[in-house]
Amino acid sequence: MTNTERGRVLLLQVVSVLALLAIWEAAARAGWVDALFVPAPSAVVGAFGRVGPSALAGLADTLAKTAVAYVLSVVLGVSLGVAVGSVRVLREVLSPFVVAVYGMPKILVLPWIVLILGFGTAPAIVYGTIHGVFPILVLVMGGVRDVDRTLVTVARAFGASSWQLYWKVLLPAIVPTVLAGMRLGIVFCLLGVLIVEMFAGVRGMGFVMGSLANGFQAPELFAATALVSASSIAIVLALDSLNNRLSRWR
């Protein structure tokens, strides 16, 4: 992209966001949309102050649960993915099961999880982990399967033990896949935790947003939504830049 084009792109982005906000504000003030449901941007900005403390506490709670679920998903997803992916019998027998469960709408088992684990932190972590582990597992299984066979054969020919084969050949080869899985997994974990909080939460951002919607507090709800979206985008961008730095290092 040339410099002038980059400037025009940036200009277009800024102008269209500002135009959208201006039209939205005008529509809300002129009463074209019901301010009860679609509050003006200025009202949303004002709501940040009111909803701030409870929303930030909720966000911290949600992110803490997401972090636990994420660590569990990555550890389980990578270890199971390597185990199932590298043993041919396991892979052939189990992959249809994994793919089937991956494609299933997990929301259907949520009532059951809540029934067994109750309300609160545990179901959120379990459900977030279920959400996060499958995309990672599927990616890592595929990554292990697609590792260059000649690498393995050569290592074997030079007398590498199984242990060395895993640590020196397989794991380094699947690092990009693992990183891709980690990037995908975080959004899924956050999604799962938020869904549980909306469905049966007593704390956390999903619960805060659900109560704001039920209370018809639209400006506060929009502010809370913006807060979660912004933090989610920030997390993904941070993972992306980490990813870039690691790949440059490789």
């Binding site: 992209m1 277009l12 869904i195 919607a213």
Partner: protein
Amino acid sequence: MRVALIRAAILVALVLAWELLARAANPLLYVPPSVVLPALGRLLALDAYPELPQSLLLTLREIVIAYALAIAAGLGCGFVLGLNRLVGRAYGPILAALYAVPAVVWYPSLMLFFGLDAASKIAFGFLLGFFPITLAVLAGVRQVNPQMIVVARAFGARPAVVFAKVMVPAMLFTLVGGLRTGLALSVIGVIVGEILGAKGGMGALINHAYGLFRTADYVALVLVTLALVVASDVVASLVERRAQRWLE
């Protein structure tokens, strides 16, 4: 053959283990298969929930509308962004950033705006299906070899012809993949919406059974809903195979 046998054995072992463990622990909570089957029978005989057909139809209708809207908007946005370099460069990253947000954060606002009826489920199913379709069109447009377009133009093809005869066939593979993902996500969106709060549809029935601790009915309802999900995926895979055959 041997693999298929092992798979069948694993399935049988899982069902048996479920039966034994559930009986030993708490049959009400863990619902052994021997309790699920009669419940499923009662459900399908319209004994447990006489409103099952209407609920199934409502959910199906929500899915169809949401998916149709997602296709229309996804193809429209995708082609506008993909064919126009400046617009694509400007809005593509914004779209990608929004895709990195877990979609369920929009659901409370949609529920507030569209109410508890079908409209909020349709809107959520639409939103989930829209992104993969748009992104698939964007990726597909990028795959088209520009030289083919130049050649087609040089031979005097009009833009509409270039579009239909050169671009669409060249990107069909990616496009159909995106449409299939979009369908799966629209289905999930509608079901998630219904379970998070609805007056009708399968989600409302599931919530009703769960709320009253009718666990056997709950599992039976989940199985019926899963059948709907699997059926939609089978239809999508048939369409996908058809498109691939057409390409060859």
